[in-house]
Amino acid sequence: MSFWTFIAKRLAILLPTLFFVSVLIFSLQHMLPGDPAIALAGEEKDPEAVEEIRKKYNLDKPIPVQYGLWIGKVLTGDLGISYRTQIEVSELILTKLPITLQLATGSMIVALLIGIPAGIISAARRGKLSDGISNFVALSFISVPHFWLGIMLILVFSVHLRWFPASGYVPLSDDIWRSIVSLVLPWVVLGTGVAGVMMRHTRGALLQTLGADYVRTARAKGLTEKVVVFKHALRNALVPVITLGAIEFGHLLSGAVLTEQIFSIPGFGKLIVDGILNRDYAVVQGVVIVSAALYILLNLMADIFYFLANPRMRG
C-alpha cells in the first residue's frame, strides 16, 4: 500500500468514528438522572419557567427526535448555544481551543522530555541504581493525585516564593511570555503524570525488544550497546509508546479537569464537566465532538508514525 492510499483510508474513517462519538455522548448524557429543565430553573423552581425552558430547548421531545434535531443543525455548522450562559457553543470552542492546545502540548512536551529519556536510561541500566531511581520517580508521578501536587506547587511557588501565579491564565494573544509563565505549574502537574506513564512503557518496551533475537544478533555482531539500543531496539519499542502518547494526549485535551480547576484554566475539560453537571447538553456535545475530531487526527498521526517506524505494518 502506498503512503497516500494509507492516509486516504485513515481519513475515510474519520466520519464514521465521529458518528459513533455523537451517538455515544448523546446517549451517555441521557443516562444521567435529573431533569435538565429543572437544572436550569434552579432553586427558584418557577414551574412556568421550567415549562418554557423545556419547550425552548426541545427537551419535551422524544430523545431520538432531540438527537435528530441536534445532529441536523450540527451538519449545517450550527452547534447551538449554551443553555446556561447563552454563549454560542462554536464561540466557546473557538476561544478555548487555543488554551486547551497550549495546555496539552506543553504538558506533552514535558512528559516526553522526562518520560522517554528516563525510560531509555532505566532499560539500558536495568537493575542499577539509576533504574531504581527512575522507577521510583515515575511511579510517584503516577500515584500522586493532581490536586495534591497542584496545591503543593501553588503553596510553595506562588504563596511563599511568588515565582509563578497561583491562578489566572493569561492568553497567548495578551502576552506570550506571561502566558507561558502562567502555565508552567499546570504543565508540570500534567506533564509529570504523563511522563510517569511514558517512562514505564518506554522501559518495558525496550526491555522486551532488547531481549529479542535480532537485537541479540546485533550484539553478537559486536555493535556497541549504544548502537544496539538506539539503532535497533528503540525503533521497535516505540510502537506501544506512540499508542500511549496519542491516547494520553487525547486525555490531556479533554480530561484535564482537576488541573484546569485547580489552576483556573478555562479549557475543554472543565467545560465538559461543568456542562455535564449543569446538564448543558449543547455544550457537552459540541465540545466532545470537536475534541474527538482532534483526537482522531492525532491518532492518524500516530498511525503515520507506525507506518514510518515499521514498514512491515503497511498491510
Binding site: 474513517i13 464514521p16 468514528t17 459513533f20 462519538v21 455515544l24 451517555l28 443516562m31 444521567l32 438522572p33 522507577n135 521510583f136 511511579l139 503516577i142 500515584s143 500522586v144 493525585p145 490536586f147 495534591w148 496545591i151 503543593m152 503553596l155 510517569g196 506513564v197 514505564r200 512503557h201 518495558g204 518496551a205 526491555l207 522486551q208 531481549g211 533475537d213 535480532y214 541479540r216 544478533t217 521497535n236 510502537v239 506501544p240 506512540i242 499508542t243 500511549l244 491516547i247 487525547g250 486525555h251 479533554s254 480530561g255 479537569v257 475539560g269 465538559i272 464537566v273 455535564i276 466532545v288 475534541s291 474527538a292 483526537y295 482522531i296 491518532n299 507506525y306 515499521n310 505494518m313
Partner: protein
C-alpha cells in the same frame, strides 16, 4: 533477520509446561525486589481481610473533641475532618481501595486481550468496527464515561468498579491491538507460519507472551487512576457512600485541609503510592519471569 533465530525461539517454546512454570517461578524468586513487592501486596491483602482485628478504633466512630488532630499517642496517625481515627480508616479503607484498584483493571485486561487479538490478528472489518468504537470511547473523557455508566447501572461500589473498568478498557484495547499488529509481522512469526504452525499455536506461543508485558504495565499504572476514580464516583454518589472509608475518598476529603492538616491527605496518599509501587514492581517481576528470552 537470521534464520538461526527461529529454532532458538521454538526451542524455548517447546519446553514442557511444568518445567516452564518452575523455571519462571525460580526466575521470579531470584529477584529480591519482586519478592519484597509480593510480600507487601500480600500484607495489604491481609490487612484488608483482618481489618476488624487490626484497627484500634471503629472506623466510623467520631470523637468531636478531637477533630483534625495531628498524630499522637491516642490516635497514632491523627484524626480526620470529623474526628475519626485515621489509622482505623486506612485499615478498613484498604478493602474498598484494593478492590477499586484491582477489579477495574481485571475487567480491562479480561476484555482487551481477546478483543485486541481478534482486532489485531484478524484485521479487516472486525478490526474496523472494534477500533471505531474504541476511538469513539477514547475521544470522550474517561471520567464522563465512568460517571454516565455508573449512573446507568445504579449507585453501588460494584457498579462503580464495573464502570471504571469499562471506561479504562479502550486504552488497553488499543495497546493490545497495536502490539499484536507489530508482532504479527515479525520475522519469527512468518517463520513459524512457514514451518506449518497453526493460528492457535502462533497466538498462544508467540503473540500472547509478547502482548502481555505492555498490558501488565498499563494495568499496574491504571490501578492508581482507578483508586482515585472510585473516590470521584463515590463523591458524586455513584459508589460507596460516607461514612465508609476508602483511600481515595479520604484523600478527596482532605483536599481543603491540605495547608492546615496535611497528615489527613498524606497517609492515604502514601498507601496508594505503596500499593501502586509494589504492584508495578510485581508486574515487572512477572514480566521478566514469564519472558522466555530473559535470563
Amino acid at each position: 533477520m537470521t534464520a538461526a533465530a527461529v529454532p532458538a525461539n521454538t526451542a524455548s517454546g517447546s519446553a514442557t509446561p511444568a518445567k516452564g512454570h518452575s523455571r519462571a517461578l525460580r526466575r521470579f524468586l531470584q529477584r529480591r525486589a519482586s519478592v519484597i513487592a509480593l510480600l507487601v501486596v500480600i500484607a495489604f491483602i491481609i490487612i484488608a481481610l483482618a481489618a476488624p482485628w487490626l484497627a484500634p478504633y471503629d472506623p466510623i466512630a467520631t470523637d468531636f473533641g478531637n477533630v483534625r488532630k495531628p498524630p499522637s499517642d491516642q490516635y497514632l496517625l491523627g484524626t480526620d475532618e470529623v474526628g475519626r481515627d485515621l489509622l482505623s480508616r486506612l485499615i478498613y479503607g484498604a478493602r474498598a481501595s484494593l478492590l477499586a484498584g484491582v477489579i477495574p483493571v481485571t475487567i480491562s485486561l479480561m476484555f482487551s486481550i481477546p478483543l485486541g487479538l481478534l482486532s489485531g490478528y484478524a484485521g479487516g472489518w472486525v478490526d474496523s468496527v472494534i477500533m471505531r468504537f474504541t476511538d469513539a470511547m477514547l475521544a470522550i473523557p474517561f471520567l464522563i464515561i465512568a460517571i454516565a455508566l455508573a449512573a446507568f447501572l445504579g449507585p453501588s461500589l460494584t457498579n462503580a468498579m464495573i464502570a471504571i473498568g469499562v471506561a479504562a478498557l479502550p486504552t488497553f484495547l488499543r495497546l493490545a491491538r497495536g502490539t499484536v499488529m507489530a508482532i504479527r509481522t515479525e520475522d519469527y512469526i512468518e517463520a513459524a507460519r512457514a514451518v506449518g504452525n497453526n493460528h492457535q499455536r502462533i497466538v498462544l506461543r508467540h503473540i500472547l507472551p509478547n502482548m502481555l508485558p505492555p498490558l501488565l504495565i498499563q494495568g499496574s499504572i491504571t490501578m492508581a487512576a482507578a483508586i482515585i476514580a472510585e473516590a470521584s464516583l463515590s463523591f458524586l454518589g455513584l459508589g460507596q457512600q460516607p461514612p465508609s472509608p476508602s483511600w481515595g475518598s479520604m484523600l478527596n476529603a482532605a483536599q481543603r485541609y491540605l495547608p492546615t492538616a496535611p497528615w489527613i491527605a498524606m497517609f492515604p496518599g502514601l498507601m496508594i503510592f505503596t500499593v501502586v509501587f509494589s504492584l508495578n514492581i510485581l508486574g515487572d517481576g512477572l514480566r521478566d519471569a514469564l519472558d522466555p528470552k530473559s535470563q
